[in-house]
C-alpha cells in the first residue's frame, strides 16, 4: 500500500464538515425535521461530527443513530467473506422524518443500497438524503449522493482512506494504491 497523495488535511477536513453541515441546514430549512444516521463503522463518526457541527450552528442537535447494514448485504450468499455484524442503534422513529444518511466514501453504491433497504424496514421516512465525504466514482447501481465533501477521480486499483480523529488519532483523506 502506497500513499499516492493527501487529498484533505486536518484543517481542510474541519472546513469540509462545516460546509456540509451548512448545506444540509440550507436545503432542509433548519434542524426541525432532521434525523442523522451514520453507517457503521466510519460513517458513524462522520455523523457524530456533522451532528455536533449542526448543533453548534443551530443551538439544537438532531437525533443521531447508527445503522449496521451487514444483514442487508447482497454478497453474503456468495460465501466470499463474512463481515462482522454490529448492532444498529436507532432509538427514535424515522417515520415522516428527513433522514440524513452519512457515510465516509461512496464507491459502488452497494452499501447505500443495503442501507436504504434497512431504513425502509425501520419506517417510512419523508425523505432520505445521502451525505458522503468522498465520491470516488465506479458506481454499480443508480445511486448518487445529495451532499458531497469532495469528488475524486480514482482507478479500481486505488483506495480512498478516510482517517478520523476518533479512530486514527487525526483527520485526513488520502488516496492510496492497493495494487501490489
Amino acid at each position: 500500500m502506497t500513499i499516492l497523495h493527501h487529498i484533505i488535511d486536518e484543517s481542510g477536513f474541519e472546513r469540509m464538515i462545516s460546509r456540509l453541515a451548512h448545506e444540509i441546514l440550507e436545503r432542509n430549512l433548519g434542524v426541525g425535521n432532521l434525523v442523522i444516521i451514520g453507517l457503521r463503522t466510519r460513517g458513524e463518526f462522520v455523523a457524530q461530527r456533522l451532528t455536533a457541527k449542526i448543533a453548534s450552528i443551530e443551538g439544537t442537535a438532531p437525533p443521531l443513530g447508527v445503522l449496521d447494514v451487514t444483514l442487508y448485504r447482497d454478497d453474503l450468499r456468495n460465501h466470499l467473506r463474512q463481515p462482522e455484524i454490529k448492532a444498529t442503534d436507532i432509538m427514535f422513529d424515522i417515520s415522516d422524518r428527513d433522514v440524513i444518511l452519512v457515510d465516509d466514501v461512496l464507491f459502488t453504491g452497494r452499501t447505500v443500497r443495503s442501507a436504504l433497504g434497512a431504513l425502509m424496514d425501520l419506517g417510512r421516512a419523508r425523505s432520505i438524503q445521502l451525505v458522503v465525504l468522498v465520491d470516488r466514482g465506479h458506481r454499480e447501481l443508480p445511486i448518487r449522493a445529495d451532499f458531497i465533501g469532495k469528488n475524486i477521480t480514482t482507478s479500481r486499483g486505488e483506495e480512498v482512506r478516510v482517517r478520523l480523529r476518533e479512530v486514527d488519532g487525526r483527520d485526513g483523506i488520502d488516496l492510496v494504491s492497493i495494487e501490489a
Binding site: L71, Y72, R77, Q82, P83, A87, D121
Partner: protein, 308 residues
C-alpha cells in the same frame, strides 16, 4: 473474529470459547431486529432450510421457523409422523433425498444421540442440532447462557446449578459444556436416580439436596420432569418430587440471595417449579423465549453464510 470455526452446530462439546462468544454477541443484533416494526432482514434470501423433526417439538420448531423466516430463508417443515420414515426409509436415505432437493441448512431433531453427527459426515448440507436423544441441545444451552449474560453481564465465575431430571436431559449436557467453556462454575442437583453415574468427571459439582444447591447458586436452571421419557419411574410420586426438589418461593427466600431462575419449558407447574416462582421476579423464563429466536437467528446466520 467474525466467523465461526465450526461448520455445523451439533453440540457444544468442544466448541471453542470464541465461537460461543461470537454467537452470544451476534444475538444482541438479532434481538434488536426482533424489536423493529418490520422484524425481517434479507440475510438468508435464497437459502433453503429444512426443519427435520423426527421427534415431537412445538416451541423449538416454532422458534427455529420464526428465526429462519425473520432471516428471509425459504423454509420447509418435515415431521416424522407424516413422512416416509413410517414407510421404512432409513435416516440416511431420507437425508440424502432431502439434500437432492438442494437444501442449504438442515435443522434436525432426532431420538437417537449422534444422528446429526452421522448425517453431517455423509451429506453436504450444514447441520444444526435441535436436540438428539438425551445427548445435546446446543441452541437451548446458548439461549440459556445468553439469558444469564443478559441478567448478570458475564458468565465468568458465575455459579449455575441445573436442577432436576439430569439423566434424561439433553439441555443439561449442552449447558454443562457451554457454561464451563465460558468460565462458569457448574453444579447439578436432583434425585440420585436422575443423576448419571460419574457426572463429576465433567467437572461439575453434584448436589442431592436442593437447599444446599440453592445456597451455592447465583443462577438455577430448572429442568422439566420428562414424563414422556419414563422419568416418573425414577421417583415415587410427583408430589414427593415437588416436596424434595420443587423450586418454591420459600426455598429461594431461605437461600438469602437474588437467584435467577431459568426453565427451558414447557413447565410442569407445581412439580419442578411453583407458579409463584415461574411468574415472579426471579424468573427469566419468558425473556428466554424471545432470546431463543435471536440466538437461533445468530446460529443460522453464522452457519448459513460461513465462507467456504
Amino acid at each position: 473474529m467474525s466467523s465461526l470455526s465450526i461448520q455445523h452446530l451439533l453440540g457444544l462439546d468442544g466448541v471453542p470459547r470464541e465461537d460461543i462468544q461470537l454467537l452470544l454477541d451476534s444475538a444482541d443484533t438479532f434481538l434488536e431486529v426482533l424489536d423493529r416494526p418490520i422484524k425481517k432482514v434479507p440475510t438468508l434470501q435464497g437459502k433453503t432450510v429444512v426443519n427435520l423433526f423426527f421427534e415431537n417439538s412445538t416451541r423449538t420448531r416454532i422458534s427455529f421457523e420464526l428465526a429462519e423466516r425473520r432471516l428471509s430463508a425459504d423454509v420447509v417443515n418435515f415431521s416424522a409422523s407424516t413422512s416416509s420414515v413410517s414407510k421404512g426409509e432409513t435416516l440416511l436415505d431420507t437425508a440424502r433425498n432431502i439434500e437432492a432437493m438442494k437444501v442449504d441448512i438442515v435443522v434436525m431433531r432426532h431420538a437417537a444421540a449422534g444422528a446429526g453427527h452421522f448425517l453431517s459426515t455423509r451429506c453436504t448440507s450444514k447441520f444444526i442440532n435441535a436436540g438428539d436423544g438425551t445427548h445435546e441441545h446446543p441452541t437451548q444451552a446458548l439461549l440459556d447462557m445468553y439469558s444469564i449474560r443478559q441478567k448478570h453481564g458475564s458468565l465468568e465465575g458465575l455459579r449455575v446449578c441445573i436442577i432436576g431430571d439430569i439423566a434424561h436431559s439433553r439441555v443439561s449436557l449442552s449447558n454443562i459444556y457451554g457454561l464451563k467453556t465460558m468460565g462458569a462454575e457448574v453444579a447439578v442437583c436432583g434425585p440420585a436416580s436422575m443423576i448419571p453415574w460419574q457426572l463429576e468427571k465433567l467437572g461439575v459439582r453434584v448436589f442431592t439436596n436442593v437447599d444446599e444447591a440453592l445456597r451455592f447458586s447465583d443462577v438455577i436452571n430448572v429442568l422439566r420432569i420428562q414424563l414422556e421419557r419414563d422419568a416418573g419411574a425414577d421417583f415415587p410420586s410427583l408430589r414427593e418430587y415437588h416436596n424434595s426438589f420443587g423450586i418454591t418461593r420459600k426455598r429461594l427466600e431461605a437461600a438469602g440471595k437474588d437467584i435467577t431462575v431459568l426453565h427451558p419449558g414447557p413447565i410442569n407447574r407445581g412439580v419442578e417449579i411453583e407458579s409463584e416462582v415461574a411468574d415472579g421476579p426471579y424468573s427469566v423464563i419468558l425473556p428466554e423465549v424471545t432470546n431463543g429466536v435471536a440466538i437461533r437467528m445468530a446460529v443460522l446466520y453464522h452457519i448459513g453464510t460461513k465462507a467456504e
